[in-house]
């Protein structure tokens, strides 16, 4: 995280108990949900309305990439459109940079969208009759910025995504991955603090997708942007997200870091999801280590200070490497010069197998 001078505690987007119900009888259905707490199924039966997002609350902090992961129909696309009011919430508040966006008038809303929130779409949505440069400059053009200035800014944005040689081409000349980079450049050109990413890489093939993910993360971090990133791919969420929200049937079932979600899934649904995820690069020494006293009791002959040392944030992959290079079966986890715990081979195996953290400590 290169941009270290930013206040990561500042909340840019605060989504407070937001609901969205679609359908002709949406207001009545919403009322019934609040008063009688109907289930999604009952709402569909009784009111012919679909609950797309129910009681979603989360905060996007400055400088973080917040991934929302869910399968199709989980309401994630609706949720991201609520954030810039492309869709009006049924109830609930969305505060962007301290302002309730429901209270903005049309002009203020346009200004907020233009200045504070860029959006990148799954469909890319490049205008076919415009060149790459004109597409990247679109957001600035509709803000009424002069041609020379907007072309300079757009060119700089295209340089950031590595497309400076393609400015005079048309979108149809570009590959899918390049088109999506133009989409990102268009969002970056207006220099918003928040970038909404609506499944931008879903249509790309796996190798290109991974390159784009790394590039996106690098760019976002180096420019100090914040992002809400929608995806149906848990690997993508883990690769990109500082924090991840898992959505199911319109409900956010868990919010946490990749490690939290993999190590401590909130329910069976999330557990099923993370079952196939490799823990090697997710689980850190901190969550597989044993307390020093506990270790000393079981192996009194072993001198903790003589063990190979590692840091609490080393992942299992690194721990395995260090263990293999040494003769012993245990590593000392050192934080600020003090040994705070010991990782044993047994602990590493438990971490790889995905055993809950409490058992690790007890073992």
């Amino acid at each position: 995280m290169n941009a270290s001078n930013i206040d990561t505690n500042e909340v840019l987007v605060d989504c407070q108990s937001v609901w969205k119900v679609f359908g002709a009888n949406a207001p009545e259905a919403m009322k019934a949900v609040v008063e009688r707490s109907l289930t999604k199924k009952q709402v569909l039966q009784d009111y012919k309305c679909v609950v797309a997002v129910s009681d979603a609350s989360f905060q996007l902090r400055r400088g973080e990439i917040f991934c929302v992961m869910g399968l199709s129909g989980s309401g994630k696309s609706t949720l991201i459109r609520l954030l810039n009011r492309l869709i009006e919430p049924s109830i609930g508040k969305i505060i962007v940079k301290g302002k309730d966006i429901a209270k903005l008038n049309p002009a203020e809303l346009r200004k907020m969208r233009a200045r504070n929130m860029g959006m990148v779409f799954q469909s890319v949505a490049l205008l076919p009759h415009r060149t790459v440069l004109e597409n990247a400059a679109f957001g600035l053009e509709v803000q009424g910025i002069s041609k020379g200035e907007r072309n300079r800014t757009a060119l700089a944005a295209l340089e950031k995504v590595g497309l400076a040689d393609w400015v005079e081409r048309y979108p149809s000349d570009l590959s899918g991955g390049m088109q999506q980079r133009v989409g990102l450049a268009r969002a970056l050109a207006a220099d918003p603090e928040i970038i909404l990413m609506d499944e931008p890489f879903s249509a790309l093939d796996p190798l290109i997708r991974r390159q784009q993910q790394d590039e996106f993360r690098r760019l976002t971090k180096s420019l100090g942007k914040s992002s809400v990133f929608i995806t149906h791919d848990l690997d993508e969420a883990i690769r990109l997200g500082d924090r991840i929200a898992i959505m199911k049937d319109g409900v956010i079932v868990q919010i946490g870091t990749a490690e939290d979600i993999v190590a401590k899934p909130a329910d069976d649904y999330v557990a099923d999801f993370v079952a196939g995820i490799s823990r090697i690069h997710l689980v850190k020494a901190r969550s597989v280590m044993r307390p020093v006293d506990d270790f000393k009791r079981s192996q009194p002959q072993c001198d903790v200070n003589a063990l190979p040392q590692t840091s609490p944030d080393a992942d299992i992959g690194e721990l395995i490497d260090v263990t293999m290079q040494s003769d012993g079966n245990a590593l000392a986890v050192v934080e600020d010069g003090v040994v705070v715990g010991v990782v044993t081979v047994r602990g590493l195996l438990r971490g790889v197998a995905g055993m809950p953290a409490e058992e690790l400590v007890a073992a």
Binding site: S123, V142, S172
Partner: protein, 286 residues
């Protein structure tokens, strides 16, 4: 029961309305007549005053400038044909008539078409009217047009406009309904004003279909030109009518082919001009 009592005669209700309009709004219709006559007269004079070859050269240069070399060649061929079959004057009269009629049709149909794509109810309410305008034989509404505007070019132009509006309006509505939703979403998400969304996203994306609408409007308007001959509007329509009444196959055929030449000329020129205005990307997109 006497079935005659049930007989419905809309004319009995309409005729008094036409009479009433004619009696009370005569100055207004007179002004409309004078205005259209003046515009038509001006265009005709501009086309007929210089020698034909000068007009052809000017038109070819204009076509080359606004729509490219290929359209310039088509322009040269079409106008040369009109000159060589000896129908130059009639052709220029028709060109003026159709240009004015199409311009007015587009100015009425385009905004209404956009409204119809924005508001479903509006579209539903004008649909029967459009059906009627397209299917009622034009001779029928030529009658009130002649009553109100008297014989000549103006009733012909009014009838042509009425005939030209529905295809342009319908295709404008279709064109705007077909604009991909994600482009509109892009516009909203970027904070574009409704005006920017219209001019920078919707109209460019709708252009291919709008061009089909314009093409239909031009061709149907030209088809009406024959009818214009019947009410004394002159031009190629009068030549066709003359050919029919005198059973002169040659004259009818020459006039008919001249109409085709004018149609091709107007279509290619308008299409080229619109696409050029869009930049080369439009040509790629279509």
């Amino acid at each position: 029961m006497n079935l005659d009592l049930l007989r419905f005669s809309p004319g009995a209700y309409l005729a008094p309305v036409v009479d009433w309009l004619n009696r009370n709004f005569h100055p207004f219709f007179d002004a409309v007549t004078k205005f259209i006559e003046a515009v038509l007269g001006g265009i005709e004079a501009a086309l007929l005053y210089p020698p034909p070859y000068a007009v052809i050269v000017a038109a070819v240069l204009l076509a080359a400038f606004i729509a490219g070399t290929r359209v310039a060649v088509v322009t040269a061929l079409a106008l040369a044909f009109c000159l060589l079959v000896g129908l130059w004057t009639a052709s220029m009269q028709t060109l003026a008539l159709v240009t004015v009629a199409v311009t007015i049709s587009v100015f009425i149909a385009f905004p209404l078409g956009i409204l119809a794509s924005r508001y479903r109810n509006f579209e539903a309410s004008i649909r029967p009217l459009l059906d009627m305008m397209q299917t009622v034989p034009p001779w029928v509404y030529l009658i009130p047009a002649v009553i109100i505007f008297s014989l000549g070019r103006v009733p012909a132009i009014i009838a042509t406009i009425i005939y030209g509006i529905p295809p342009m309006l319908r295709l404008t509505t279709l064109a705007f309904n077909q604009v991909p939703k994600n482009f509109l979403e892009l516009g909203h998400a970027t904070g574009a004003s409704p005006r920017s969304i219209l001019f920078k996203i919707e109209i460019p994306a709708a252009t291919p279909t709008l061009l089909v609408g314009l093409n239909q409007c031009i061709l149907l308007s030209l088809a009406m030109v024959v009818l214009a001959g019947l009410v004394g509007a002159g031009g190629l329509g009068a030549e066709v009518t003359r050919g029919l009444t005198r059973m002169e196959m040659g004259l009818g055929l020459r006039a008919g082919l001249a109409i085709v030449a004018i149609a091709i000329l107007l279509d290619r020129l308008s299409r080229g001009a619109v696409q050029r205005g869009q930049g080369t990307g439009a040509a790629k997109a279509t």
